[in-house]
């Protein structure tokens, strides 16, 4: 399944070639080829409607039936069955969405523990403490999600994405709802957390404030 040979040669983490996707409505969208190296961070820029989210979902294995190829951590996603793709996502990818989408019936801790249950992966002893501490919300461990401020909730969402130390983190418009100060904080936090976990960070955004923080980027156009 995994081509160890090519992995050793290129050390690339995310790449797309000849990638295009046809919507249910019939409109098709094609994307430029690109490649992100292991440990690098990357921006997908473009106005809303330019296909950022679609590309992110394609790269994250949330969307299938595309033409071309997507490789993540040296696995061509199009070669995986649906079940294997689920498993692959659980083991390799962390997502951060524009809205936090925490599971409101659960506590902060349980939200973080969800990952190990859903992805059937063991949770390291002390890992929750470590991640929450790193994000400065260790005291919220037992809190109900509904009692968190928006900033705290976003930190929990980030914690959830990195809890299993995924090789790649995809973030979709993580800053669009934030003011300048919070925007900068969140981007710093994301970059820090990604570096700590040796994860590759890919951010899709139309937020111009993010542009200068990460050098590698592609710009999607209509």
């Amino acid at each position: 399944m995994v081509s160890y040979f090519s992995a050793a040669l290129t050390a690339r983490m995310v790449s797309a070639s000849n990638l295009s996707y046809k919507f249910f409505s019939g409109t098709a969208i094609s994307f430029p080829d690109f490649m992100v190296k292991k440990g690098d961070h990357f921006l997908l820029l473009g106005e809303s409607g330019s296909g950022k989210t679609t590309l992110l979902h394609l790269l994250g294995g949330l969307l299938r039936n595309y033409s071309g190829s997507v490789q993540v951590n040296d696995v061509a996603l199009e070669t995986l069955s649906e079940h294997r793709l689920d498993k692959f996502r659980g083991q390799n990818i962390g997502f951060i969405f524009q809205r936090n989408h925490l599971i409101s019936a659960l506590t902060v801790e349980q939200n973080l523990m969800m990952h190990s249950y859903l992805a059937s992966m063991p949770l390291q002893e002390g890992r929750i403490e470590e991640v929450l501490h790193g994000l400065g919300i260790a005291d919220k461990r037992k809190s109900d999600v509904s009692h968190l401020s928006q900033g705290q909730a976003q930190r929990v969402a980030i914690a959830r994405a990195v809890i299993s130390r995924p090789p790649v983190i995809f973030a979709d418009e993580p800053t669009s709802a934030l003011d300048d100060r919070h925007c900068n904080n969140v981007i710093s936090l994301l970059i820090d957390v990604a570096n700590q976990n040796q994860s590759t960070l890919v951010i899709a955004t139309h937020d111009q404030r993010v542009k200068d923080r990460i050098q590698q980027k592609i710009v999607l156009k209509h």
Binding site: A105, Y117, L118
Partner: protein
């Protein structure tokens, strides 16, 4: 974190919804449980009480009354029959045993029965303490009589006419308790046993005391050995008959009903008839219980369906975290199953508690020996059925969860 915590958290997050669903279902289950407990125990009582009795012979009247009076001891006699007629019938070669019963009196609503020793053999009665009755006016009392009426060995009491506590008292004679019987879980527990002569003595007017004159009597009555055969004055209430062969079931009732002034009634047939009459009422209550359960099923379905609409994002996020389609399917099914299982267990508990309370507060239930601390295998069926119902209610919502299109849900925001 496991599926149970996840499912339980979702149920806990909607406390009112969960509570109403559990309550609705548990009410339906409780009604079914109560009916089940009563019906099973009544069936058992009826079988135990009429075991070994193939036919009851008494005065003409309602055959059902004859059975209720002479086997279950909850109705009044249809009248008396002459001893000599009873003897004639008892001699029939189709009959293995004939047990005489003389009814009419009671002590604090516990019926006094004049009979022979065969009666206690019929119920395999054993003495808990004391001795069997030997002489007139000596009695053995059932365990409930001893416990509820507070009678002990050596106690004397006067009987009252009829079955009520306020009946005309026979003050001239006093019964004496000679022995207390062990609990049999039959009607025997509620009876006071003595010989037939005692009953006669109670109802005689003093001077008419025509005791048998020893040697001068040539043939003795087969039913009441102390009197001469063919006595045309003495009366009893009924005969309990056991057949000698299955042939008797065909011939004997017809023979008696057609050719004598007596009436024969079959306990099996009459209790079946009684149940078919009562059955309508039971069916109505049962239908009510099923309606409750149906409503709760609908309510559970709607609750799951609605909550799933709110949880579409949760589902999509879970998928993005590596959950397979089948994992979501199972978690929704588990939610339905857990909800009905919970409702069912609360319902079973409620049913038992209601029966326990009834049997501790209502003397009639105590007399009938109904208990709530008993479990039947049918309750497993109820539990299994409820679980199935929950899975069924959750099926459509679970299919929706299964089909969640992650990308479009997440992209829509």
């Amino acid at each position: 974190m496991n599926i149970f915590i996840l499912v339980w958290s979702y149920l806990k997050a909607r406390p009112l919804n969960t509570a109403i669903n559990v309550i609705l279902l548990s009410l339906g289950i409780a009604v079914i449980t109560i009916l089940l407990l009563f019906k099973k125990q009544l069936d058992q009582k009826i079988t135990d009480n009429s075991k070994g009795i193939d036919l009851v012979i008494g005065a003409k009247g309602s055959p059902l009354q004859l059975i209720l009076c002479n086997i279950f001891h909850i109705d009044f006699p249809t009248g008396n029959i002459k001893l000599n007629e009873a003897e004639r019938i008892a001699k029939n070669r189709l009959i293995r045993t004939a047990i005489p019963l003389a009814l009419g009196d009671s002590y604090r609503a516990y019926r006094i029965i004049g009979t022979s020793s065969k009666f206690r053999e019929l119920y395999q009665a054993k003495l808990a303490e004391g001795a069997w009755w030997k002489n007139n006016l000596e009695v053995n009392i059932g365990s409930n009589v001893a416990r509820l009426a507070g009678l002990r060995i050596g106690d004397e009491f006067t009987s009252a006419h009829g079955l009520t506590q306020e009946g005309h008292a026979h003050n001239e004679h006093r019964y004496i308790v000679k022995g207390i019987l062990q609990k049999t879980n039959t009607v025997l527990d509620n009876l006071i046993l003595t010989n037939v002569e005692s009953i006669w003595e109670m109802h005689e007017t003093g001077d008419a005391h025509d005791a048998p004159e020893g040697d001068s009597v040539t043939a003795r009555s087969s039913l009441v050995p102390s009197v001469a055969a063919g006595d045309s004055v003495k009366q009893i209430t009924a005969l309990l008959i056991k057949y000698r062969s299955p042939m008797a079931a065909v011939q004997l009732p017809r023979l008696i009903n057609a050719e004598s002034s007596l009436q024969a009634a079959s306990p099996a047939f009459e209790t079946a008839r009684l149940f078919s009459i009562l059955g309508v009422g039971v069916d109505v209550i049962m239908a009510f219980a099923y309606v409750l359960i149906l409503i709760s099923a609908l309510s559970i379905f709607i609750a799951l369906y609605n909550s799933l609409k709110e949880r579409r994002y949760d589902m999509a996020v879970m998928r993005s975290m590596g959950a397979s389609r089948s994992k979501l399917l199972v978690s929704i099914l588990a939610e339905g199953g857990l909800l009905t299982l919970l409702g069912c267990m609360v319902g079973l508990l409620m049913g038992h508690v209601v029966v326990i309370m009834l049997s501790s507060m209502v003397e009639q239930a105590q007399k009938a020996g109904i208990t709530g601390i008993i479990f039947y295998s049918e309750e497993w069926v109820i539990l299994g059925g409820s679980l199935l119902l929950g899975l069924l209610c959750a099926l459509i919502p679970a299919m929706q969860a299964y089909r969640t299109d992650i990308s479009s849900v997440l992209a829509r925001n």
